[in-house]
Every structure is written in structure tokens, then in C-alpha cells.
């Protein structure tokens, strides 16, 4: 292999498409150096927060919207298209929203870990690359990057036993999942001699069918473990409870978004040979996830764990519409993934503000009469709960309605009824939270302190929940084009 040949074939100007990722990476590096250089003080905390926000804003600005057409750069290992761009923007915004909460959370716990800032940046970098590639190796490395950052952040606050147990479970099961992914990737490569998912799926023929299918199943198993599909969800409630609440919000929203994107990219390439087995297996898994996730949430008394189980259930809703291998289904799935990240993040962030009071442990009865203590937090929590439940005109309703439409298009009626059953079960615990908040007498008297940035973040999320729900065309046109385009590309190959 001649080094001159390799260097000659790299087009350096292609790096301009990578500018957001490079900005995030430079930001991580700058924060790392600052951590070593500066001495711990109050100004250092503020400086870290504002420099992170600065780099994220720079990253958002460095998107080149003009070049947002489908393009493979770096000889096919990286893809620039609208889906990638949307998800990258969403991930950056979600990180921006989480950062102020981390700041106050760490201040309240009196242990300030400066590492968390650049580890979040590195996980964001991993998410951004995960959202824009069809190449097995790039997906694998990005998955590792995101996962390892999450393991570190989960275990960072070494206080209680719960934190260690959850982090350990996450590490072990995550490690297993990544190894299984590697094994599956090896099979897929062996079947088709190519590392690009598009080429792999198009090279389906009778000779390599077995290897291809086994490889695909193993590779997707890693993603199934990460997004919390029954029966691979066992790490999720413990890990979410163990992590500090802003980080849990980050994992549940941006993490889930990033882990879903490769699945969404894969779906148009499931061709007609694989379609019936894909539909049966994915729909059964989705049905199980929806029902079990909601049923287990119903019996929880810890709010954070309840929200973790509800995030499992929402993965089930998204997966159910992916089982109908249609363009409409993909649109519904993409829409629901984006809006769930908004709703889920809001719920976890409200919880993280509530945790700053000393009397608050996350137990459910403590939420009684919250409206008396703080109107703003209880109303925004109620908004997010109603959104998760699926009450119009919030985004959750639009997502569920689109899921129903996606299922109806392909006549998968039984899954629609399972979805109704699952939502019925979820009504039990969501309504209980709202009723306890507004209609009971006050359990715990405290005044949550939240500074202006947190206020702005939560208000922005509430605003998005309503606006994207009442005027879905804001997102819809883009998503519709993405989905049509992905299907068209898949059928052309």
C-alpha cells in the first residue's frame, strides 16, 4: 500500500463537511487543557460552562446548510444528508439544554467534576458521527465512543451504592453488547466483502443469506440492548437511576436519538426477501417492549425509575412503527424519535431541578401537592407528562397518531391494538403523577432554586413540546423528504 496513493486519494476539502464534529472535538480538547491548566475555583466553573456553550454554538453555526444533499464523503465511510444534519442539530441543542443543569447539580452536591464537560463533548462527537455513517467500522467506533462516555458519566458521582451498581451493570452489559456487535459485523463483512450497510444489504443472495442474516441480527442486537428493547432492557432502569439526573436526561434523549439513527438508516434496505421475518420479529419485540415497559412502570414508586421504564416503552412505540417497512412508517419513526427526545429530556430535567432540595428523594408520594410549592415546575412537568401520554396538542400526540397511521398503512392492526393497550397501561401512572401534583395536599414543603439558564431551558422545552405539536409542519416537511429520499435511494441500488 503506497502512502502516496493513500494521501493523494484523500480530498482535504471534504473536511469542510466535518466542521461541526471538528468544532466539538476542538472544544473537548480545549476543555481538557483548561482543566489541567486552571486551578479549581468558582470562576473555573463558570468559565467551563460558558466555554462549552460557546463551542456548541460554534458547532451549530458551522453547519453548511447549502451542502445538505446526499453525498458520500471520505470514500463512502461518511454520509452527509438531511437526516444526519437534523439529528446532529438536535443533539447539539439537547446538549446545550443539559449543560446548565449539570452545573447546578454539581454545585448542589458540592463535588464538581470538571471532566464531565469534555466527556459530554466526546459523547456528543460520537453521537454526531454515529448519526452520519453507513460504514460498519465508523458506526462501531462511534457506538463505543458514546457508550464509554456514558459509562464514565454514570459512575462519576461515586457517592452511593446505587450509583455504583447501576454503572457496573451498564458497563458489563454494554461491553457484552459491543462485542456482539463486532461479531455480527464480522459476519456481515464475510457475507458481502463490504463494510457499507447499503452494499451489504443489496448483496443479499441465496449463498450468503445465512451469514448476512446472522450478522444483521447480532449487529442489531447491540442497538436493541442500547435502546432498551425487552428482553434486553435489564440494565436500563438501574443505569438511569444510578446516573446523575441531567446525565440521565441526556442519555434518554440524545443517546436514544443517536442509537436509533442507524436503525432508521437500515430500514429502507430491508428488501422483500427479508421483509416478512423482519416484520414478525420486530413487531413481536415491539409489542413486548410496549406492554412490559409500561406494566413495569406502573408499579414503580421511584420517579426516576418510572421515567426510565417509560423511555423503554417509548422505544417500543418507535420500534413498532419500524416493523411496517414503509415510507410512512419511517416518517412516523423519525418524527417520534425526535419528539421523544424533547419530551423525555424535559421530564428528566424537571426532576433534576427538584432534586436540588434536600428533602427530595425521588419517591412518588413526595410529589404530592407540588403545585403549592412551585407553579412553574409543576405545570411544566404536567405538560411533559401529558406529552408522554399522548394528549393533543402536544408532540406526543402527533407522534402516536403518526404511529397509528404507519401501522394502518400496512394493515398491521394487531400491533395497533397492542399500542392502545400499552397506552392504557401508561395512563395509570402518568395520570397518577398529575393528580398527585395538583390535587393532593402538600407533602414536602420546599422551594426549588433554579437559576435563569435552567428556567430558559425548561421553558424552551415546553415551548417546543407545544409548538411542534400544534404546528407539526415545521418538522414534517423535512422529515417527509428525508424518508422518501431514503426509500428512493434504497430501491435504486
Amino acid at each position: 500500500m503506497d502512502i502516496r496513493l493513500l494521501l493523494g486519494s484523500t480530498n482535504l476539502y471534504e473536511f469542510k463537511y466535518l466542521l461541526p464534529e471538528i468544532t466539538v472535538f476542538v472544544g473537548a480538547f480545549v476543555l481538557f487543557l483548561l482543566d489541567i491548566v486552571m486551578k479549581n475555583s468558582e470562576t473555573k466553573k463558570r468559565v467551563f460552562l460558558w466555554i462549552s456553550i460557546l463551542f456548541l454554538a460554534l458547532s451549530m453555526l458551522s453547519f453548511s446548510f447549502k451542502n445538505a444533499f446526499f453525498k458520500d464523503v471520505f470514500s463512502g465511510t461518511y454520509t452527509i444528508d438531511t437526516l444526519g444534519m437534523f439529528s446532529k442539530i438536535f443533539e447539539i441543542v439537547l446538549t446545550l439544554l443539559v449543560l446548565p443543569f449539570l452545573h447546578t447539580y454539581m454545585n448542589k452536591k458540592n463535588t464538581f467534576y470538571y471532566e464531565i464537560y469534555y466527556i459530554i463533548f466526546l459523547s456528543l462527537l460520537g453521537m454526531m458521527t454515529l448519526s452520519s455513517s453507513y460504514n460498519l467500522i465508523v458506526i462501531y467506533v462511534s457506538l463505543e465512543m458514546v457508550s464509554i462516555s456514558f459509562y464514565i458519566m454514570t459512575a462519576l458521582f461515586r457517592g452511593s451504592f446505587i450509583s455504583k451498581e447501576g454503572a457496573y451493570k451498564y458497563l458489563i452489559i454494554g461491553g457484552i453488547s459491543i462485542i456482539i456487535a463486532l461479531y455480527g459485523a464480522a459476519f456481515m463483512y464475510a457475507a458481502s466483502k463490504s463494510l457499507d450497510i447499503r452494499a451489504i444489504m443489496s448483496s443479499y443472495n441465496d449463498a450468503n443469506a445465512v451469514y448476512l442474516i446472522v450478522g444483521m441480527i447480532l449487529f442489531l442486537l447491540a442497538f436493541a440492548i442500547k435502546i432498551g428493547i425487552i428482553p434486553f432492557h435489564f440494565w436500563l432502569p438501574d443505569a438511569y437511576t444510578a446516573a446523575p439526573t441531567p446525565i440521565t436526561g441526556f442519555m434518554a434523549s440524545a443517546g436514544k436519538l443517536a442509537f436509533f439513527i442507524p436503525l432508521l438508516r437500515l430500514v429502507p434496505y430491508v428488501n422483500q426477501h427479508l421483509y416478512s421475518s423482519w416484520m414478525i420479529s420486530v413487531s413481536i419485540l415491539a409489542a413486548a417492549t410496549m406492554i412490559v415497559g409500561n406494566a413495569l412502570a406502573l408499579v414503580q414508586s421511584d420517579l426516576k425509575r418510572l421515567l426510565a421504564y417509560s423511555s423503554i416503552a417509548h422505544s417500543g412505540y418507535i420500534l413498532s412503527v419500524l416493523s411496517s417497512n414503509s415510507s410512512m412508517g419511517l416518517k412516523a419513526a423519525i418524527y417520534f424519535v425526535f419528539v421523544y427526545s424533547v419530551m423525555g429530556l424535559g421530564a428528566f430535567l424537571v426532576l433534576s431541578v427538584l432534586e436540588q432540595a434536600e428533602e427530595w428523594d425521588n419517591q412518588l408520594p413526595k410529589i404530592g401537592g407540588l403545585y403549592r410549592n412551585t407553579g412553574f415546575l409543576s405545570i411544566s412537568f404536567a405538560v411533559f407528562i401529558f406529552a408522554l401520554l399522548g394528549i393533543p396538542p402536544t408532540v406526543g400526540f402527533v407522534g402516536k397518531a403518526l404511529v397509528f397511521l404507519g401501522l394502518a398503512i400496512k394493515n398491521i392492526y394487531w400491533l395497533g391494538f397492542v399500542l392502545i393497550l400499552a397506552t392504557a397501561i401508561s395512563t395509570g401512572y402518568y395520570v397518577r403523577i398529575v393528580v398527585l401534583m395538583f390535587m393532593k395536599d402538600v407533602e414536602v414543603r420546599f422551594k426549588p432554586h433554579y437559576d435563569i439558564l435552567e428556567n430558559v431551558s425548561i421553558s424552551l422545552l415546553v415551548f417546543l413540546t407545544f409548538v411542534l405539536g400544534m404546528f407539526p409542519f415545521v418538522l414534517w416537511n423535512g422529515i417527509s423528504n428525508i424518508s422518501e429520499f431514503l426509500f428512493k435511494i434504497a430501491n435504486l441500488r
Binding site: 500500500m1 459512575a155 458497563l171
Partner: protein, 123 residues
């Protein structure tokens, strides 16, 4: 259809376990004695609140480091297989790769992640 045996094995497995456990739960006697749920520690009362204890965080860091360096080794295997074709370019490339990971190892070393001497009481 060729794997119908496997499927029936799965169904019988699951079905048998579900049936046995649920029959137990439905038909078994339910008397709540206070010590039935007490954790077993050879008949000695518990030292702490629960039978669960915490563990040394070194295990966690070890697992994390294992994950990273194990994958590094996994990447070295295919390189070793095709080393003949890669020549000097391959050597320098992998040298740089291992150099970056060595920086990581040095970082972990300096942050005392590799120190495993500890007193028994601090477990």
C-alpha cells in the same frame, strides 16, 4: 421449518417455567413470617442494613480499561494477519495508533487508576 425443533424447545422451556412458577404462586400457601425474607448469612444477624454491600471502585475502572484495551488488541489481530501486504506504511500507521493508546495508558497511570494496593478496611 428446519428449525421447528428449536422453536418447540424454546416454547416448551418458557412454557414449563411459566407454568411451574405460576402454579406455585397460585396454589402455594402464603404465610408471611417475618424472617422468611431475611437474608441468609449462616444464621448470624446482619452486620449492615442490607445484604448488599458496595464494592471497590477499582473493579469498575478495571472493567472500563479492559473494554478499551481489549478492543485495541482486537484491532491488532487483523493488522497482524495482513501485515505482509502493508509494508512500512502499515507499520507506521499502527505505531501511531498504539502511541495514542499509550498516551491513554499513561493518563490512567498518572490518575492512579492502576494502583491496586489498598487496606482491607477501606473495601
Amino acid at each position: 421449518m428446519a428449525y421447528i425443533g428449536l422453536l418447540s424447545l424454546l416454547i416448551v422451556m418458557l412454557g414449563l417455567s411459566v407454568v411451574l412458577i405460576s402454579l406455585n404462586w397460585l396454589l402455594g400457601p402464603k404465610k408471611k413470617e417475618p424472617y422468611k425474607t431475611y437474608p441468609y448469612e449462616c444464621g448470624v444477624p446482619l452486620y449492615d442494613d442490607t445484604a448488599q454491600t458496595t464494592f471497590h471502585q477499582g473493579y469498575y475502572i478495571l472493567g472500563l480499561l479492559l473494554l478499551l484495551f481489549d478492543i485495541e488488541v482486537a484491532y491488532l489481530f487483523p493488522w497482524a494477519v495482513v501485515y505482509n501486504y502493508l509494508g512500512m506504511f502499515g507499520f507506521i500507521e499502527v505505531f501511531l495508533f498504539l502511541l495514542i493508546l499509550t498516551f491513554g495508558l499513561v493518563y490512567a497511570w498518572k490518575k492512579e487508576a492502576l494502583d491496586w494496593q489498598f487496606d482491607l478496611e477501606s473495601l
